[in-house]
């Protein structure tokens, strides 16, 4: 297993770590038994634009790096655009992930979708 420099950068100095106090969309996927949990916090404005995003992650280097990268990728985007973020976009942005680590990037995409859904549910 070999992580790219981008993965290691995002692991050692992750962006957007922590909770957003006034988040209006929160999504969590995974379970401790599987060794990975990803929780995404979104602050979405009235125009459905993601103003801020953050994460808390229990998982491997790839999971942390995917969380960091994925949150970076959706800040400033509309929820419609962000909802279309695919795990492969995250993998590409990270310069690739080892095969056995692809599922960690899937978690990131799923957690974002869950957070957006949470926001929509609350709004409805």
């Amino acid at each position: 297993m070999e992580y790219t420099d981008v993965v290691m950068e995002n692991f050692t100095c992750p962006k957007n770590v922590g909770e957003i106090e006034d988040a209006n969309g929160v999504g969590q996927v995974g379970s401790p038994a599987c060794g990975d949990i990803m929780k995404i916090f979104l602050k979405i404005n009235d125009d459905d634009i993601i103003e801020n995003a953050s994460f808390k992650t229990f998982g491997c280097g790839a999971a942390v790096a995917s969380s960091s990268m994925a949150t970076e990728m959706i800040i400033g985007k509309s929820i419609e655009e962000a909802g279309k973020l695919k795990n492969s976009d995250v993998v590409d942005a990270l310069g690739g992930l080892p095969d056995v680590k692809i599922h960690c990037s899937v978690l990131a995409a799923e957690a974002i979708q869950a957070a957006i859904q949470d926001y929509k549910n609350k709004k409805a």
């Binding site: 297993m1 992580y3 290691m8 692991f11 050692t12 992750p14 770590v17 922590g18 969590q28 379970s31 401790p32 038994a33 599987c34 060794g35 990975d36 949990i37 990803m38 929780k39 808390k56 992650t57 229990f58 998982g59 491997c60 280097g61 999971a63 942390v64 056995v100």
Partner: protein, 386 residues
């Protein structure tokens, strides 16, 4: 950056004295030990010397030492060789849930071939119970295989007592002593074992050479058939250079056993006290006393092992984890699950194993950095104490 290597249970650097012993067998003394001319005779004589060095290290006769390519091959041979040889007598095998995969997967393969295997549980510190063993023995039990010391949590099993029970029943007894040699005394006579596996790369020898000790006269099927090498028991042109290396490494390991044990124990205890004292919600896995002198294995709640390893690697420290995330499989270490850890906790394990060259300063550096790393990762974790 200076590297601090704390994964001696995974593999050890080769001792320079051992490398020196190997070199001639890669250059001038290249003969095939089976050949009758000068080059062959020289090689043959040398490997018999190495065989004797290993025999001496475990109190065996040199004719009971058979070279293999690894500890894994030794385990496979012991288990499949005894099973196949005795299948007319019975098809039941007893082992434990915490064995190395070389033993476990050999047993599982035999199950597919119609054998029955009992996997004994262990208690919360990793010990097999003698009562459980006695209860598991059946009339058709042909083999018991229990490891001497566990590679993950370092627990040392009561092999001598197990050997006695098994011997009384006339059953063949194998122990995987790959983690034991060089770390605790290994004496095949005292232990009552029929078969015992070793591997050079755990005792400052090269990778790719192992030994199966087979008690004189014990019938066993071959795993690798072919030429007449290893008294017709294990085919393949002898790996002379690595055989010589293993001989030397075993000799050094016995000679320095006492001092190495003391050295490792001192640093291990410093490490354990430091970690448990300074990091909240840390626990030590394995037996508090009956453990390998160089082994420390911790769990840290709420975080995942690979993240710890990567964080350590970045600052120059090499360790290992039983987390599934490091192994490419989805399940965390079978050993940590067997001692009763919930999967979530098992994912947060860290194994640090001390070696000859580890220093007290290394340990200080590791403990201090670990405090910060665990804190940082916990801050990042969505699971928390409340």
């Amino acid at each position: 950056m200076k590297r601090i290597y704390l994964d001696h249970a995974a593999t050890t650097p080769v001792d320079p004295e051992v490398v020196e012993v190997m070199i001639p067998y890669l250059t001038e003394t290249f003969g095939n030990p089976s050949s009758i001319y000068a080059e062959g005779r020289a090689a043959k004589k040398s490997i018999e010397k190495a065989r004797q060095q290993i025999a001496t290290a475990i109190n065996a006769d040199s004719r009971e030492i058979y070279f293999t390519a690894s500890g894994s091959e030794a385990d496979n041979w012991a288990i499949k060789g005894i099973a196949m040889k005795n299948k007319a007598k019975g098809k039941h095998i007893i082992t434990s849930q915490i064995e190395h995969h070389a033993v476990l997967h050999s047993c599982e393969y035999l199950e597919k071939q119609g054998f029955e295997v009992t996997y004994l549980p262990v208690d919360e510190v990793g010990l097999v119970s003698l009562e459980d063993l006695k209860n598991a023995i059946r009339d058709d039990t042909i083999l018991v295989s229990i490891m001497f010391a566990n590679n993950e949590i370092g627990t040392i099993e009561p092999i001598k007592e197990i050997g006695k029970i098994v011997k009384e029943k006339g059953i063949v007894f194998h122990t995987d002593a790959v983690q034991a040699l060089g770390n605790i005394p290994v004496d095949v006579k005292d232990l009552n074992v029929d078969l015992l596996s070793l591997s050079a790369h755990k005792i400052y020898g090269p990778k790719g050479i192992g030994v199966l000790y087979i008690k004189k006269g014990l019938p066993i099927d071959n795993l690798i058939h072919g030429g007449a090498q290893e008294r017709k028991k294990r085919a393949g042109t002898e790996n002379t250079a690595e055989i010589m290396a293993f001989g030397k490494a075993a000799e050094l390991a016995s000679e320095h056993l006492e001092e190495n044990m003391t050295h490792m124990k001192t640093l291990r205890d410093q490490l354990i006290e430091g970690v448990l004292g300074k990091i909240p919600l840390a626990r030590l896995n394995g037996h508090p006393e009956k453990r390998l002198p160089g082994n420390a294995n911790f769990c840290f709640a709420y975080i995942e092992g690979e993240s710890i390893l990567l964080s350590l690697d970045v600052i120059g420290i090499a360790g290992s984890s039983g987390s599934a995330c490091t192994s490419g499989s989805l399940d965390p270490s079978h050993v940590l699950l067997a001692i009763g850890l919930p999967a979530g906790v098992a994912h947060g394990s860290l194994r640090l194993t001390i070696g000859k060259s580890t220093t007290a300063e290394d340990i200080d550096y590791v403990v201090n950095n670990l405090v910060e790393i665990i804190q940082r990762l916990r801050d990042m974790s969505p699971i928390d104490a409340d």
